[in-house]
């Protein structure tokens, strides 16, 4: 039974998940009762191995999947009262494989598709399209067919087409798979900027280096449950838990754990931090 939304709802919470259970048609339980609150402007990473339920959770947020029990409340309204198209106005979902989305003969047309579907006027559609194309650095290729672009560019087109719908929340499913170092940096810069501009960002990934570098909050999932919800530093102190959840902690974290006797804290997230602590640890020990 899906509970009615209470009268006093915390306006700061853009996504509110209560007791979410999800069972697939074949009887497989993918989500075992989750509770999660996401605040406006959060930069959240949902991490877990294959089968942890992270994609199932994400699809429950934008209505592609409906809860078997429990509730998902977006911006104060339960998803049970909204269609996928209506939710698309608030929650933008960029899929892992951009080739599953691209079908138009030019980047511009592709990016226009979303806002057109949502019923914006021609003027609004044109404006949003232009802004998104610029924000994702696609101006140079905007008249080319998406299929002729590199993987990195196609990913950016896919995100731009979600951006043009002007959602408040961005859910990005493994956005950096297959990208080389430069493409990864460029893409993550754009995503960081989205968050700086006030958008809520939810990254679904298993790349812990990425999480350490960009996310402000990490939710670790394993076997359909949330096993840890903390800032990145907090998550990396528990290597055991990460390994049990089929995740590999970044090398810097592994190293930090081994150097704790030298005064290096376990929450270290980057090479700079590690070196800083080593250098100041030496000083303190004199």
């Amino acid at each position: 039974m899906i509970p009615r939304v209470p009268a006093s709802v915390d306006q700061d919470k853009i996504i509110s998940v209560h007791g979410l259970k999800f069972v697939y048609d074949g009887g497989v339980q993918a989500l075992a009762g989750l509770n999660l609150d996401v605040r406006r402007g959060d930069y959240l990473a949902i991490v877990g191995g294959n089968g942890s339920g992270k994609t199932t959770l994400a699809k429950n947020l934008n209505g592609l999947l409906r809860p078997t029990s429990g509730s998902v409340i977006i911006n104060g309204t339960s998803t049970s009262e909204l269609t996928v198209a209506e939710l698309a106005k608030v929650i933008g979902y960029a899929f892992q494989n951009p080739d599953h989305q691209l079908f138009c003969s030019s980047v511009v047309e592709e990016v226009r598709f979303g806002p057109l579907n949502l019923g914006y006027s021609e003027a609004e559609v044109a404006k949003k399209t232009e802004l998104s194309i610029e924000a994702m650095d696609l101006s140079a290729v905007k008249d080319q067919p998406p299929f002729s672009l590199t993987l990195g560019e196609r990913r950016r087109v896919s995100i731009a087409s979600v951006m043009a719908m002007d959602p408040q929340v961005f859910i990005l499913d493994e956005p950096t798979t297959g990208l080389d170092a430069r493409e990864t940096d460029d893409l993550m810069d754009s995503i960081d900027r989205l968050n700086l501009d006030g958008h809520t960002v939810v990254l679904i990934t298993h790349d812990m280096k990425l999480v350490a570098k960009h996310a402000k909050r990490v939710v670790v999932m394993s076997e359909g449950r949330i096993v840890l919800d903390s800032d990145p530093g907090g998550v990396f102190t528990d290597l055991e838990l990460l390994l049990r959840s089929k995740l590999v902690p970044p090398p810097v974290s592994q190293l930090a754990h081994r150097l704790s006797s030298l005064g290096v804290p376990r929450e270290v997230l980057s090479p700079e931090e590690l070196v800083f602590h080593l250098m100041s640890g030496r000083g303190a020990r004199r």
């Binding site: 191995g49 294959n50 590199t150 993987l151 990195g152 798979t177 297959g178 990208l179 080389d180 170092a181 430069r182 493409e183 990864t184 940096d185 298993h206 812990m208 280096k209 089929k246 995740l247 590999v248 970044p250 090398p251 810097v252 592994q254 190293l255 081994r258 150097l259 006797s261 030298l262 090479p271 700079e272 590690l274 070196v275 080593l278 250098m279 640890g281 030496r282 020990r285």
Partner: protein, 289 residues
């Protein structure tokens, strides 16, 4: 005789103006584990496709220079002939497994070569055992995880009994656990069976751990070739080439910068732990300034 001998190789695909390989000289010795590192478009996949004759036979174009695979000129022998010397694994697990069961997939190659039936069964069991997929014979490829699919793909190549395994970004679609399993299988193949392994990657973390040699590629050329320690120690340079550096090498570079007189150069967590503890413990005990 080398496993792979490329001398001043240039290649462009038919109908293209762009040289995918623009003067590559590379030698891979038998039994070596070599990683080709580079950004997308650097030519690493092209070298993979060249290593078993897919270039130029299945992917035609203008191929110049000398390319020899175990002593045989690539232009003069078919892909089928090379298939018993070189096994190929592609990056998409789903599209390279086309049979209805794991054992059919692994038997497919040798069946095409008319290997007698008793031997077929032997080879299938042997290959599955090597990749840790024993007992999965009747499973359908669709029901396997990404990591399992890639291991079946490796088994399907191994059953041809090649001397070299070539893998084009094999961990692309895998989660961290799948990635680790894959590299462990490859390392075992090299160490216990003398297999030559050549693989293409954009992330150098595993190359640092497992490779004998690594090649840095850019714009169709090999910029640098040597042991991981020689080639992977400069994270700035790796990033500029689009290659993700081993994370601890960034620690090593920073320490070298900030700690005078230090000569850190580690690329793996174990090495890093050892070097740092040594250096910093000595300083603590006042042995060094």
């Amino acid at each position: 005789m080398r496993a792979l001998d490329l001398q001043d190789v240039r290649f462009k695909h038919r109908g293209s103006d762009h040289w995918a390989l623009d003067g590559v000289s590379l030698q891979v010795e038998k039994g070596e584990f070599v990683t080709l590192l580079g950004s997308n478009g650097s030519g690493k996949s092209t070298i993979c496709m060249l290593s078993n004759g897919l270039i130029p036979h299945a992917l035609p174009g203008d191929l110049q220079g000398k390319t020899e695979i175990f002593g045989f000129d690539v232009k003069e022998h078919s892909v089928a002939e090379f298939s018993t010397k070189v096994g190929m694994v592609f990056q998409e697990p789903e599209s390279q497994l086309f049979c209805m069961s794991v054992e059919e997939e692994v038997a497919f190659g040798p069946e095409n070569l008319a290997v007698p039936r008793e031997e077929l069964r032997e080879r299938v069991e042997w290959a599955l055992e090597l990749v840790g997929m024993k007992g999965y014979n009747d499973r359908s490829p669709f029901s396997l995880s990404g990591g399992q699919k890639q291991r079946v793909a490796i088994a399907a190549a191994l059953s041809m009994r090649p001397d070299m395994l070539v893998l084009d970004e094999p961990a692309y679609a895998l989660d961290p656990v799948g990635r680790v399993e894959l590299y462990q299988v490859l390392r075992q193949l090299k160490e216990q069976h003398g297999m030559t392994v050549l693989l293409a990657e954009c992330d150098s973390e595993e190359a640092a751990k497992y490779s004998d040699k690594a090649a840095l590629m850019k714009d169709g050329r090999v910029i640098s070739y040597g042991t991981p320690r020689e080639v992977l120690k400069d994270p700035e340079r790796l990033r500029s080439l689009g290659i993700i550096p081993p994370q601890v090498s960034e620690v090593s570079a920073l320490l070298k910068e900030r700690l005078e007189g230090s000569n850190f150069s580690f690329i793996s967590v174990d090495e890093a732990e050892r070097s740092i503890k040594e250096k910093f413990t000595n300083r603590k005990r006042g042995r060094e300034p």
